[in-house]
Symmetry: C2
Subunit: 252 residues, 2 copies
DNA sequence: GAAGATATATTGTATAACGTATTGAGCCGT
DNA sequence: ACGGCTCAATACGTTATACAATATATCTTC
């Protein structure tokens, strides 16, 4: 195996991208846990030995473990050591965990689960927004849609306006738990968009459907808003499926 | 202000209940953040001074801050210090955060949000379970229902069987993101149950509705399963509302 | 062979020192 | 008087070391 005669990364070089040491280490370990490189039940080396392998202090390692533990990915017990927990206990909807998931290319099964959850949550949020929105919120939604139209979804600015539009819908639903959930989902969707647009531009312009959703919310028509959101997600799903089929045909 | 002539808890004695020091400290700070005692934007004392006030080491304090930071409750920056973040960034669906929320009595608004979320997620999960369940899963559901009938919901064993029944439904839905979300929701529901049963027993036996849900799932009837779950949640909501009205009439 | 005491390895906690980045005040120039 | 720049103080970030607590494993004893 490894010759253990000095500090070595042993393949675990922390991808230090302007982050704090414990954060980037947590990110790297989290990524490897989610990718399956460290499977559930995997036992890490002792803190002292592991910190020497990674060439950092035990404190930094412990703080990284605390972060991962807070997200349910690992569990530390005296004498027993620190090991990867059962996936059922992972906080898969945590923003960081989602980001780590997308650090490696996500599996088709994960994307299926993600779109199924979107189809459950977002139409309901749209319906609630139709019932509870304020005039100020619908006005800002209109502004966001205008900006989307102006810049298009192929630009960074256009995508930001898209995100703002959906954020406003969530906010208008007036449910803090729903907001937390939706912001996590939207973060994940943003990641899929990055993957989706890797090779080509969007196949078609989804602006008419966005306008329809906005109209339904302004009118206070909960059912129409629900259905309009279903249509939007169906469009996104179709795009993603096309993109994935292209991945199969032309991998790497 | 405080006279700062020695180690003092300054009101922040860590409720040390068989937990590690950093965990119980994170719990205590998290509870106070969620209760509003430390409002968004609140700046904590410097780590050295704060650790002296709390009469513990800086390491333990920092690890507690890392836990809270991982759940989005606080943010640390060099020179600027550690402060409570904006509530929009809190991981309100995190199991620990939910538990901290219920450490103080939850607000009616929170319960409203919780039941609204249940009404969105759980019927959809029941429908998915009807479509995707295995025979083994429905058999175990039947076992759980039998145990509920035997022991009743007033016993610890009966409530455990109830939880197992709902867990099996989630598992049968075969969606990892949905599982994560549902387990968080169920944890929150378990807390409300504790509050609910503080004063009196359940008003009536929900077993027939549980059986109806089980029958629908076994039959693979997604729509019937969805509707049966809606009925179950409506029952729970009615119970909780009754309990809360009693709280208003006889506070404390 | 089972049950209890002991040994030991590993995490948990404490302390101290130094590095580093950010902030904000002060200075200088325009 | 105002704006931009320099610089130092401050708080987090990181490292190192020592010791305490604890759970597991081993060994002993009945």
């Amino acid at each position: 195996m490894d010759d253990h005669d000095g500090p070595q990364d042993s393949g675990l070089l922390k991808g230090n991208l302007n982050l704090r040491l414990h954060s980037s280490l947590a990110r790297e370990l989290g990524r490897r846990i989610l990718s399956g490189e460290f499977p559930p039940g995997h036992l890490f080396p002792g803190e002292i030995e592991f910190s020497h392998q990674l060439d950092l202090s035990r404190s930094a390692l412990r703080e990284a473990f605390r972060i991962l533990s807070a997200k349910g990915l690992v569990e530390s017990r005296p004498k027993a050591g620190t090991r990867v927990t059962d996936p059922a206990r992972w906080s898969r909807l945590d923003p960081d965990v989602l980001a780590w998931q997308f650090a490696s290319e996500p599996s088709p099964a994960f994307l299926r689960d993600l779109f199924e959850l979107r189809m459950i949550v977002e139409p309901a949020a749209a319906a609630a927004a139709a019932a509870r929105h304020t005039e100020e919120q619908t006005r800002q939604m209109a502004d966001a849609l205008d900006e989307m139209t102006t810049h298009g979804l192929s630009t960074e600015q256009g995508r930001a306006a898209d995100q703002r539009f959906h954020s406003l819908i969530i906010e208008a639903a007036r449910n803090q738990l729903l907001s937390t959930l939706s912001s996590s989902i939207m973060a994940a969707v943003a990641w899929t968009t990055i993957f989706k647009q890797r090779r080509r531009a969007l196949p078609r312009d989804p602006m008419p459907e966005h306008r329809a959703l906005h109209t339904a919310i302004v009118a206070g028509d909960a059912e129409a808003a629900r259905e309009a959101m279903v249509v939007l997600i169906d469009l996104a799903l179709a795009d993603t499926e096309i993109s994935m089929r292209e991945d199969e045909q032309a991998p790497a």
